[in-house]
Symmetry: D2
Subunit: 350 residues, 4 copies
Amino acid sequence: MKPGNVGIIGGTGYTGMELLRILARHPLADARIITSRGEAGKSVTELFPSLTGHCDLLFSDPGSADLKSCDVVFSAAPNGVAMTHARSLCDAGVKFIDLSADFRIKDIVVWEKWYGMTHSCPELLEQAVYGLPEVNRQSIGGASLVANPGCYPTAVQLGYLPLVENGLVELDSLIADAKSGISGAGRNASLGTAFSEASDSFKAYAASGHRHLPEIVQGLQEIAGEPVELVFTPHLLPLIRGIHATLYARLNEKGLSFSVEEMQRIFVDRYNNEPFVHVLPSGAHPDTRSVRGSNNCRMSIHQPQGGKTITVLSVEDNLVKGAAGQAIQNMNLMMGFPEESGLESIALVP
Amino acid sequence: MKPGNVGIIGGTGYTGMELLRILARHPLADARIITSRGEAGKSVTELFPSLTGHCDLLFSDPGSADLKSCDVVFSAAPNGVAMTHARSLCDAGVKFIDLSADFRIKDIVVWEKWYGMTHSCPELLEQAVYGLPEVNRQSIGGASLVANPGCYPTAVQLGYLPLVENGLVELDSLIADAKSGISGAGRNASLGTAFSEASDSFKAYAASGHRHLPEIVQGLQEIAGEPVELVFTPHLLPLIRGIHATLYARLNEKGLSFSVEEMQRIFVDRYNNEPFVHVLPSGAHPDTRSVRGSNNCRMSIHQPQGGKTITVLSVEDNLVKGAAGQAIQNMNLMMGFPEESGLESIALVP
Amino acid sequence: MKPGNVGIIGGTGYTGMELLRILARHPLADARIITSRGEAGKSVTELFPSLTGHCDLLFSDPGSADLKSCDVVFSAAPNGVAMTHARSLCDAGVKFIDLSADFRIKDIVVWEKWYGMTHSCPELLEQAVYGLPEVNRQSIGGASLVANPGCYPTAVQLGYLPLVENGLVELDSLIADAKSGISGAGRNASLGTAFSEASDSFKAYAASGHRHLPEIVQGLQEIAGEPVELVFTPHLLPLIRGIHATLYARLNEKGLSFSVEEMQRIFVDRYNNEPFVHVLPSGAHPDTRSVRGSNNCRMSIHQPQGGKTITVLSVEDNLVKGAAGQAIQNMNLMMGFPEESGLESIALVP
Amino acid sequence: MKPGNVGIIGGTGYTGMELLRILARHPLADARIITSRGEAGKSVTELFPSLTGHCDLLFSDPGSADLKSCDVVFSAAPNGVAMTHARSLCDAGVKFIDLSADFRIKDIVVWEKWYGMTHSCPELLEQAVYGLPEVNRQSIGGASLVANPGCYPTAVQLGYLPLVENGLVELDSLIADAKSGISGAGRNASLGTAFSEASDSFKAYAASGHRHLPEIVQGLQEIAGEPVELVFTPHLLPLIRGIHATLYARLNEKGLSFSVEEMQRIFVDRYNNEPFVHVLPSGAHPDTRSVRGSNNCRMSIHQPQGGKTITVLSVEDNLVKGAAGQAIQNMNLMMGFPEESGLESIALVP
């Protein structure tokens, strides 16, 4: 028997499915419960045939599932669900990792404005740890409630991190032009993400404002210790998995004092010990497929025409490092497992 | 018999094919000659079966083809070829439209640096008119040699035009994050654009410097009357046709004095009489498929969080408004045909 | 004013949209009314931005729309709707072309079994003409009610036609392995056709029985004058537009008496005067993109290893020759317009 | 140190890459040598960045590589290469698994006709074991030279096996309509498999005769003990990984004596103990994505209209069960490792 007993709330979406895929190969943790209001009683492999032979769970009703018997519970349900479970699970001593947005934003006014609902569990916001291991590894290790970052915020923050931590850029000049594969929209029937509508096409969406904006700004501001102004434009890519963030920032005086080679060194040093962040040689261009199915974030930097702007290219699989993989990484830290457990799988290329 | 006799140099690529597709339905012009060194003697429909019933030309050898008998000649050959034809065709009174980059850049030093070859016909650079009708309609009408703009430069310049013409943005703050469908790489066998490599993936390329950068800068500077600094990042989209330019600029004092509604009005007014540029309602998001196969450029503007940055989203079909369609538009102007002749076809959606 | 006044019932799907795209360029017919229960009052271009500048209709309520004032009415609504309109339109002398399945099957018992509803207008089944011009051109010309064929049935019947008409194959040996692009499933939000589910994947569906089977069998039996046994397996292709039917039949004694060259001649002769059916050289392989957006059906024949089985490869655009294009072709015949009017557009390649 | 020392000849294609991906996670075998004429000296991760952190080999020159020091050598080179290595490796006691076609066909005349070259090592054809574990598990275990099956032949033979073994179908009635993702064409620059040519399109190829035909026929004949007639039509799917074989056969008297349920039972029983073949419930439709990246073959059966024809739907990942995965499975058998070692990875869905 594996030491970690895992429950999943709301497991019929892509992140729930991806948690199961990763846990099936995890040496130390076992999915024991997976809930779904709509599919209770059905076997997981009926919905997800690719898991045949790797998972023999049935979906159970969230009302009757004994989640408190688990060591760790993930919530892969839509926004607004995890906050109804957090209190009781935390009280029962269950470690809780929320893949939705319920505990990501510290400022409840900001959260309620962007998410359009009343928060039912604001008292836990304070103790919730933002689950970006490259920033908060220590606190995640001791946390009982982790807010797993959004997909865009992971790729964007990791790309900006070395620049902001070292005070190299003008903090009111950030522009994140981000592109996501369609799985980011979830496992839903909707006209906008239908094959005949979204295939062989490309467009921006929410260019005037997207929910991941305040999350990114909060994260960068915490590091900078001063206000950050960010323009964030998400786009819909005609591919399944993958986020590519093209990040721009104007170098400040300190930033301009470094050569490209020194800048490259700053990035390399920052992520040298990070198991899942790879800095490519300066001038390279990471492609999203190179992380497809893996928990890696790969990035490279450019300084076009040796000018005032630095460009960071950052890619990840939105379902792995951008969701389920990072959640498992957080579980590993919280449970004291080796951080890479279950996350060694190699990107599927081609 | 149609009044316009057309020749095409180097017709085996996508732009040559697209010229044929448009000319086949053009009421006033007729493709009479199409040259190809490699395919001479072969019928066009053997290479391009979709033209069956619409084109009965054979490819002819560029050496023996009587291009001087044409009223208009397009060069759809790679960079470096058109400049070897321009002199003799212009001398013969043939109108010449070059779809390559040979005559786009006025500064020969800049051109030779970016294109890595010696220009064999610099004396015609002066009289070559840059074929962006929305800027140079008048001069194109009287031109004998037109440099058809690049695909990215068309989408980018059209998007920035109203801002630069009206002096609304800081000219050293321009960032063009541009994405192109793979047909922009031409009809070639190359590993990088193979289906198994480029499909279900996304990446930037030439982030440190791309040949279309000096072309865009030249165009915007001419309008601004002062230096322009641009960061230009091209990306490869896993789709066939379509360019999406996401354009950022920091509003200057004058720019900030306008409301979004007023800004929207400036764009609408600028393009009101343009047959091929459509300004969408403020806050909309054009998708590339909405122009697939058509000569339209569609755009919209956003001012995220009412901040200092304006975002313009601009889409076109890289093979039509970004190449062959714009070339036909230029031909129409040069020949005194109605500007929309042959270009009425509707985007193929879905 | 164009002589043909056109109405469209249920215009918010892909076939309605495609009718509008074709009619916008039709020299002799004009869309005047388009109905939609759900979108009444909205402008067509709000739903279909690619039609901007080409269509200024509003959707009107089917209850109040004056369809009887039209010369021709198309029904692009789901199965079961056209049969409620047919009686009154036919009585009013309006020519009626139904793109759904309501009038395709002559045997009402068979129809009700496969379509799972009661037919409300069985008395018109007799006079409804099956709108496959390559078989029924004459009767279509005089018809007031035309049942436009299904997408698969068009590609399959055209491929088998020369073999069945000439009695060259064993009629109980037909196997049609057909593949359709996803637009064939309509403009709907459904999980199965979501990009993240259907992209980068392929599968059969309804392999045990599909509604288009009885339609194909009926058509081939009518020609053969004897029973036909067909195995029909549809598959879902990860592309937007296109049907590829791979058709197998065992040659009978007569069939085996012909050489491949003679067989090729039989196909060529059969379709020699057909404007929209192209027979490729024997041994060729048509691809679906070569008909994308055009009204053509392209086919080729193979006799593998000189054996007993003949293979026919037949492609069409499911939304054009497989739906809206063929409907316009039928309208042209019914109205006495040139058969190719409005249907000259060239496939969009690449 | 892992007990199995592995060498790979010709490792720059997709099957070489896939061998590396699988071996990197294999608990008992280690890739030690990988040769490439063109890339000798380069690091593997320079070509295949997705392997970063999982493989630190350099490509070595085939001339100087000490392949004889390996326990097992795979040849992932093009046809014609393995036969030049087989003799010396076998003499040195190295187990040799050829992923090309060099040792698949026993009849050298047939081989030389279809592959258009002279066989340089015909004396080893006799002892080469055809590496389809579901048929030849025993002999593979004792083999020193294994001919790894082709991608199509694996999916087709596994689908027909239960029918042919049990004598249920007319052996001159087999029709295999097979569709492959584009990675089956290899990691090459070629116009036909360029994204802009192959994407959003579909076509058959080699419909008059494909090299995998004699391989399939040989395999089925060996089982049947009598001649088999097969029509085999391959098609190119616009997706990266996946083969879908739609298999038709006319049931003979014995076959017709079984109900569908009994037929289903025959399939289930046949593959009950096979770790990598899954029989779905009768009437189901496997999709290629459900095996993407996994070593599984999934299949289902249909008897349309309860008629004389049985339809088998069989899917696999052409690079895994259709190539590298099956080769590893063969290595496991030859080396006495557990058959599933290294092959437990779950399909990447979505």
